[in-house]
Every structure is written in C-alpha cells, then in structure tokens.
C-alpha cells in the first residue's frame, strides 16, 4: 500500500466522522486539530483507519504527529514493518521446510 492510498483512506474516515471537513480540499500538511476535529473525533478517525487497514497501533504513537502526513507515516511504517515480519516468517517457513 502506498502513502497516497493511506491518505485517501484517512480522508474516507474523516468523511464519515466529520463530513463537513471534506467540503474543502484536504492536504497531507493539514492538521486534523486545526481543521476542527476534537480529540474524540481524531481518535475515532484513527481507530476507523486502523480497522480498515487491519493493523493495531497504540494511540500514543499518534500523539507525536502534527498533521495528517504524520498519521500517514505512522500507518505506513507499521504496514512496512508488518510486511517485513510476514516476509521473514515466510522465509523461515521455507527454510524450515
């Protein structure tokens, strides 16, 4: 999955939680907080994105980010990490067999 796809997925969740934010173009550099999402809205958007991507990341990881790009990066790194672990597991299984 690319970062652009993750960004689009986050926009889809924003549209579910706060549809009026989507009335104007949203860029990765925008901050959800500045756009008007409160802490509960932000947690909801992140949780819905986690469920859509089928990943689990402690919410504290997102506390450090300043904008949507930061959220995209946290998800992207988790997916890359999960893919590489999955690859290693597959390699292990191949070697074992």
């Amino acid at each position: 999955m690319t970062k652009a796809q993750i960004f689009q997925l986050i926009c889809d969740q924003i549209n579910i939680v706060i549809p009026e934010l989507m009335q104007h173009p949203i860029a990765p550099t925008h901050s959800l907080k500045v756009l008007g999402a409160n802490s509960i809205d932000r947690a909801e958007i992140i949780m819905l994105t986690m469920a859509a991507l089928k990943v689990k990341i402690p919410l504290i990881e997102f506390a450090k980010v300043d904008n949507i790009q930061g959220i995209v990066d946290v998800f992207y790194h988790q997916i890359i990490l999960a893919d590489s672990i999955s690859g290693l597991v597959k390699e292990d299984k191949c070697e074992a067999s």
């Binding site: 939680v17 009026e20 509960i40 947690a43 909801e44 949780m47 819905l48 986690m50 469920a51 689990k56």
Partner: protein
C-alpha cells in the same frame, strides 16, 4: 407527607415535545389520541428470538430530516443538533428532537434566560442496550477496534452531556432511574427543583427504550411482556384492563416537558399548558415485579393531599395500565382504595393501549397525553378494552369521549416496588 408551602414556587408546564410510533411531534400524537390510532406491528429486528415481538416502534427516523422540519429554530442550532447527534445512538438523536420541539413551544430561544438557572433531568436507565448489543459481534471479532466514543455513549449520562451542550444548559442536571416509573420520578425531581428555586426552568426528557434481544427475552421469560395470544393481530395485543390482557406491549417513544416557575413564565409572557400541583413517590419494599395495592394507593392519596385536594376533585386518571394481568388487577384495587364510592365518577384510560409501554419515558409521555386531553377537551379511547376486568369503573370506551377535564392524576409504577403519581391541572 410533604406539605405545599406558600414559599415554594408554583410549577407550570410551558413546552412539550414527543416522538412515538404515531409520528414526530405533539400534533401527530394529538391526532392519534383523538382518532384512537395505534401502530403495533411484529418487530423485524429480533430474528434471534423464537417468539414474535409485537411493538409500537419508531421506524424510519432520520435525524437530518427531523431537524429540517423546525422552521422557527435558527439554522445555527439546527446544525449543532445535527452535528452533535449524527453519530450518537438513536435514543439520543430522538431526545434531541423532542427537546427542540419543547424549546420551540416554550420560546426559550427568544427569551433572556440565564443558562445557569436551567436544569435538566433525563428519565431512564439502561438506555443503550441495543447500541451495545449491536457492537458486540464486531467487538468479539477484534476488541481493539472498538470506537473510542463507546466510552461516552454507553453511559446513560451521555444524554445529559449531549443535551446540555447542544442547548447550553448549565444548571443542575442528572439522570433518574426508576424502571417504568422513571418518567414520573424525573418529573417530580424537576418539580421539586423549581419549587425550591434551585432552577427557574427545567427540562425533563424521557429516553426512548431501545431494547436488545436480551432485555426482550428477559421480559418474556419473566412473563411481563404480552403478544402471544394476539401475535397474528398486533393491533389487538395491547389491551390494558381487558380480561384478555397478557402483559405489556413495548412501545418506543421519547417525550420532553419544560417546567418552570409560574413567576418566570408570567414575567416572560409564556402561556401555561398546565400546572403540576401534587406529586408522590413511594417504595413498597418489594424488589421483584410484584405490584402492591398499598404502595399504589398511597402515592395517589399523597399526590392528591399534597395538592390540597380530595378525591372528589379528580376528574380523570391516566392509569399506569400496562396490560399486565397482576399489574392491572392491582391498580384497579388501588383505585377502589383511593376513590371508594367515587369510582363511577373518575374517568379512566390507558395511553399504553395506543402507543405501547414506553418504559423509561412512559410517565413523561403520559403526562403529555394527559395535558393534551385536558387542553383539547377529550379523553382518548381504550381501543382493546372489550371486557373490562372491573365493570364498576368509568372506562373510556372504544371511541374518544368529549369531556372537560380540569384535574387529573397520572400513575407510573415500576419493578422494584417503585410507585409514583402526579397531579396535573389544566392550563390557560
């Protein structure tokens, strides 16, 4: 017994809002009551259960459409209602709309009202059962993805928080749990808050009961819920005080009443729809679902006495009348105990025969139907009262009666030995 003291404020009702199976708004309810209209059906939302669930449900509710119908409410508030409620459980969305209607009637938005002098009492406990139940299968699949808002929405107090934020209510506020007597008990708490000048205006909101299959199965297993004999004839199922009654038929409904001190209403030139004059709550020391003649008669007597009246002064009693066999028989005995040889003079009907048993909001909706009937000079029919269990009482028949009513009692009783009665006077 509490004695009404002159230093207490008189409490008038200045706004009403309702959503029931009969439709959105007081106008729909009034029309249904006059025509003796009911909308009981087999509820399709309980495929898990092995028996048909007959109910008068609120179907096809849409928050955006409901909000858009209020022409005299500022767009800013309508948008706030929609934005705040759109992802909340259905019961909260419906409460928002009933409050909006009552606010409009009491003209709260057009008046200079100190928000710290407005109170809020929300009637109902266990109000999010269906919401939790619907989330449970996805939770079992993956608990981590549970919505963070669940922590807010599962609590009954979410109603208080949401309504106070949307309507800027900053006085005293809380939930009241009293089983099926919740509505009356909430009304009584609001009445006392105004009497004692804790607040000037108080909203009382009855929450729609959104039961999950667990609660419905539980009510079925304990023998409280009817609908077996008349499963193929849902409109016949709710039959309070009829010899073929077999338990309550669930109704969904939310109501809001705005109570205020008469001084404030007079000062602001707001018409009174009625006055609350006497109230009583009493436990009868029985924890189960055992109605009690002494408890029921005691609250009626206390409410009448608190108003400084006697049984002869009561023209009409809006009964608890759930359709439960033991419940109906007990209430009839309590009515005889209170009214003695006057029982052929007091008109009786049961609103649950038309809109079902709305559980947490029943007391509020029945206070509303009582006020509507007093205002409009009629008494709604007892649609399915074909063979009354007691023929000596003065039941309204299958057609509405044109009657001028000035003084009425409204009863609400709940599991756990909770008894309550309120005495209402007709407004201007």
């Amino acid at each position: 017994m509490r004695q009404v003291n002159q230093k207490f404020s008189r409490v008038v009702i200045t706004g009403m809002g309702a959503i029931t199976a009969l439709g959105q708004g007081i106008t729909s309810l009034k029309k249904g009551l006059k025509k003796g209209y009911s909308l009981f059906n087999k509820n399709p939302l309980f495929p898990e259960l092995s028996f048909p669930v007959i109910s008068a449900a609120i179907d096809n509710f849409n928050l955006e459409e409901a909000v858009s119908g209020f022409n005299s409410i500022p767009e800013e508030l309508k948008l706030k209602v929609f934005k705040t409620g759109r992802r909340s459980p259905k019961a909260i969305q419906i409460s928002l709309i009933t409050v909006l209607e009552a606010y409009q009637q009491a003209k709260i938005l057009n008046r200079s009202v100190d928000p710290t002098r407005i109170g809020l009492v929300v009637a109902g406990q266990n109000t999010t059962q269906r919401y939790s139940y619907d989330l449970f299968s996805s939770f079992q699949e993956e608990p981590s993805y549970l919505s963070p808002t669940y922590a807010l929405h599962f609590m009954d107090t979410d109603q208080v928080g949401t309504l106070s934020e949307v309507f800027n209510i900053q006085g005293e506020g809380f939930n009241v749990g009293g089983a099926s007597a919740s509505g009356n008990i909430a009304l009584i708490q609001a009445y006392r808050m105004i009497q004692q000048k804790t607040v000037d205006i108080c909203l009382v909101v009855g929450v729609m009961a959104d039961l999950s299959p667990l609660e419905v199965q539980g009510f079925h297993n304990i023998g409280a819920m009817g609908g077996k004999y008349f499963a193929e004839f849902p409109s016949k199922a709710s039959r309070p005080f009829d010899s073929n009654h077999e338990g309550f038929i669930w109704g969904q409904g939310s109501g809001c009443l705005i109570l205020e001190s008469q001084e404030i209403a007079d000062h602001d030139g707001i018409s009174s729809l009625g006055e609350m004059k006497g109230t009583a709550i009493a436990l009868d020391a029985h924890r189960y679902s055992e109605p009690n003649v002494l408890g029921e008669s005691r609250v009626m007597q206390q409410a009448i006495a608190e108003a400084g009246m006697v049984p002869e002064d009561i023209h009409y009693l809006n009964t608890h009348g759930s359709g439960s066999i033991v419940g109906d028989e007990t209430e009839v005995k309590a009515i005889h105990e209170v009214f003695k040889d006057l029982t052929n003079q007091v008109w009786l009907n049961a609103t649950k025969g038309l809109i079902g048993h709305c559980l947490w909001s029943a007391g509020i909706l029945e206070a509303i139907t009582t006020l509507i009937q007093m205002q409009e000079g009629f008494l709604h029919p007892n649609l399915n009262l074909e063979n009354p269990i007691d023929t000596s009482l003065r039941w309204v028949g299958k057609q509405a009666e044109s009657v001028e009513i000035k003084t009425a009692l409204s009863n609400s009783f709940g599991f756990g030995g909770m008894n309550s009665s309120v005495l209402l006077l007709r407004g201007e």
